[in-house]
Symmetry: C2
Amino acid sequence: MNEPLDRFAGPAREALPRLTPDERAVVHRELRELENGDHGGGTLLDGLRKLAAQVPERLYTDSADVLLRMHEIAGSGNHQSNLSSLPLVRACFALGLVEDDGRGRPAELVVGRGHIAPAFYAEHYVRGTLPFTPLTTLHQGGLTGVVHRDLGFRNTMRYSLGVGVAQAVSLAWELTRRGEDRKVVCLAGDGELHEGVAFEALRFAHDMGLTNLVLVVDANAKGIEPLPKPVNTGYLAAYLGRLVEVDGRDEWAVEAALGALLAMPGPAVLVCRTRKGDHSFKPAGTPAATPARVSFASTAGRMLAAHRERTGRDMTVFTADMAARFGLRGHVPYTNTGLAETLTVGMTLSLPEDTLKVVATDAMYYMDSLSMLTEATTGVRNLLVLAGRSWGAWGGAHNATNLLGLLLHTRVYEPVTEAEFAACLDRLSRHPATTHVVSMVDAKFDPPAADCSADLDGGVWLTPPAGDAPDAAVVTFGYASVLVAEANRELGVPHLHCAALAPELDPAVLDVLSRCRRVLSVEYNGARGGFGERLRSEYLLPVEVHGVRRDIANLVHPRQLPLHGMSTAMLRERLSGLLESREAGRAPAHA
Amino acid sequence: MNEPLDRFAGPAREALPRLTPDERAVVHRELRELENGDHGGGTLLDGLRKLAAQVPERLYTDSADVLLRMHEIAGSGNHQSNLSSLPLVRACFALGLVEDDGRGRPAELVVGRGHIAPAFYAEHYVRGTLPFTPLTTLHQGGLTGVVHRDLGFRNTMRYSLGVGVAQAVSLAWELTRRGEDRKVVCLAGDGELHEGVAFEALRFAHDMGLTNLVLVVDANAKGIEPLPKPVNTGYLAAYLGRLVEVDGRDEWAVEAALGALLAMPGPAVLVCRTRKGDHSFKPAGTPAATPARVSFASTAGRMLAAHRERTGRDMTVFTADMAARFGLRGHVPYTNTGLAETLTVGMTLSLPEDTLKVVATDAMYYMDSLSMLTEATTGVRNLLVLAGRSWGAWGGAHNATNLLGLLLHTRVYEPVTEAEFAACLDRLSRHPATTHVVSMVDAKFDPPAADCSADLDGGVWLTPPAGDAPDAAVVTFGYASVLVAEANRELGVPHLHCAALAPELDPAVLDVLSRCRRVLSVEYNGARGGFGERLRSEYLLPVEVHGVRRDIANLVHPRQLPLHGMSTAMLRERLSGLLESREAGRAPAHA
């Protein structure tokens, strides 16, 4: 076992062409050391520390430069968010909160601003406790952009925004229960504090009389978009008592203030006024003349505008800070509710019946709002729920779409063409009491040759069967149809595409499928309780279900595909297997 | 259509034996009027108003007396909660917020304290705008204990605690958007303000500069249990600006203060200091000598204590104000997190691996915490999730258990014996990385003759098949097994009981089932994506699925049973049909 080698060598080698000659030379040296030496045994971080000691030369001495290079190499990420927190991160290092210097850490550090892990890596690098190689692998299967225990953090974040404050309060409570008087420092963002659970945690800490919580707020006044108002210090002081404000761009001021607060008894909050540029990293020098392909999700704003134009209908759009992701700006008016997904849904509850109500956030974020959403699906008419699907660097529960599909009075669709999206809206107009959940794919792709716009609840053959009794067939849902169509290009397996998570297949189609020796279903979605299992359950078709079975990881989309058996090559192999195999009979769901 | 008659006559007649002679006489007169007259046409409330005018005599002139009688007749409810808000409700009537007196209401009223609907009914009654008959039908299919648009409220509440504040902010935003300067009064409880979404809504209203929200807080310092600290006025003032405190037991003081706040420009909060007795109504004069049967859920505390005794294991228990429901007090130490379900789950995130972490709330309330729960099911070991199942007066999403079953690293069980509950805990000890969700039934019942404690993931025959190829069989999940066993007593249909939502049936059992001409599955749970559909999907068994298909209503348990085809008589008929019917073949899932 050589965990550092296993984890970083592959993606680092792939990154080589994007490195400077000096960087490349260091990576080569580090990889040689990794191949020759023993860096396993301890934790992943121990192995990396050992490697850093073996190749001590530093290419950069300022962690801000390192951060920029990491994002340039990765080509994506939250560079500005990391920059805004960098002085806070440096202060945490300076106070001994990050690394045990042998005297024991003066306090526990919980990083609630989950996606500033790169700022820690960068600072580790310039301090000589991390080699260069991992830095070249951000979002590419090596380093994750969000904090993880494996990489030296006290906490791991996966799903829930605002989870960090809860983790900090959980820890503060536990230390209190054990009679330890150590403090817990929670590094949070001002946007993240909009999450209801952050309030629940602070209120609880106050009401339980916890005295060991120190909240450090990176107050850059910006989520993805600017916050409408600065962080409310009156609120924070009401729950945490002592409140100190500093210039968060001055790492010495942060260090001094935080050090003082740690030395004083009782809870406290340190508000660090910082500044932040654009949320998402955009590589410099992208030629403006090249018309970039855009993700399907980011065309939502334009498609909504077209619908409004067509119908003349009153429309309200609420988004949990994701206007850019859905391409709303310049197309439809919208209200940014900030990082407050439950309220985003709740905002639809008292609007006029005929108004089209659109809510837009990541599919995963609705999972902390399913009661509120049920309140809306049972009581609100003309409700359109846009559920972003990224399988992206921030993660995303693979079963979110299936969970949404189980709500009362709800139908789920995953359109892959503009016409299918329009059909979803038209169907909602005809069935206003049914909430239409529309899964919006972040990927960039060409539309398939045919679509379900004429029969949104049915299926359409992308590759029709030659006769009426083909040997095998594949049935796919939404974006998986695009992936399978590509893999099937030269194979010609009869291929049925569905836009509905729970399709209503017509007798002729069912007849074809039931005569197939083998039927495969493919969904880029949780297999459990999803599209394929519904086909089995609804029609008792012996469908072999191909879907996501493991957790979505913190990786960019192209790296997620092979993780879940969704790359073109893997799908092609699966389809070929269908044709070759001669065993017949009732296949198990989980072949 | 005579909606008042259809809705109230049945339950009112059933209530007659519990009424005083005077009450009975009035109900008889009102029912006669209803039968003879036309009370349909307008809204339900219009019909009731008409009836109240036709039988104008009042049995009571003090709404507190009416409230007491309503709860005595119902035998359950939140009498003290209603009493604590009664002066606030009277002030709302006095200010014209409840009934349009022809001059238009001075402001919109959203009742966030959802279960104080009875206080409004009581006040309506003494004011002559509601007849007596409906009051005798609370929780019994007539009046609902929570606010509903059908009964004259501006908002309806079903699922989500804290939804009222979101509804109020949604309305305040909409009025602002339309350029109307009317205010929105939101009547909330101090416990309810612990919900994260209430914060999300207040923060948003503040940051968006909404000037038309007036929050009225019934600050009785009690949820179901006493709050650890009084409502935080600093917090409320930080978001709403003007804050006034009054003695909430003095209706004149409330009226004066609220009237003044409505007349002033800008948002405001009125904190009404009130007092509240026991949360749940207990009928007076229940003989103490009678040992009452208790619900299965309320034995959780005793069973957890037994486990702790047996294993000597460190255990933490967090409950969202439901210690009484799970019978925790006196058996295991617990921490009441208040009405903050997401935090309740979050509190498990930073505890030691080996500690047994128990979280306990209603199954429905986890639905606003499924991302946080996924965070826990993927990162926390030894996690036991107790999910209360009431099908009760407050409602409850019928699909909650199925949703929980789709989370990563999760197994769901619904034990119906003490031994099955212990088996769940033992299984968790053996599989600490799998979160065990244990559905805890509120009903009182005798344990079945056999259980799955020896093989928790399998099935056990409660009525074994006579030969190895029976004509029909029934397979049931959890509490449904108890109901079906009762219905099957004289029928003798082979009956397999499962404690696991996703059982792993052994080949012998599968062989028997696959040879049956018909197999019925029964679950007191959402049919969609539930137990029976999993049997179909997993084993391709042509199971006919009998489960809950419509929304859970605000009714007491005995009235829920026939609503969902779960009464003994209805189940007996379903089982008899299995035996009689001669049609064979693949039955549809939704027969």
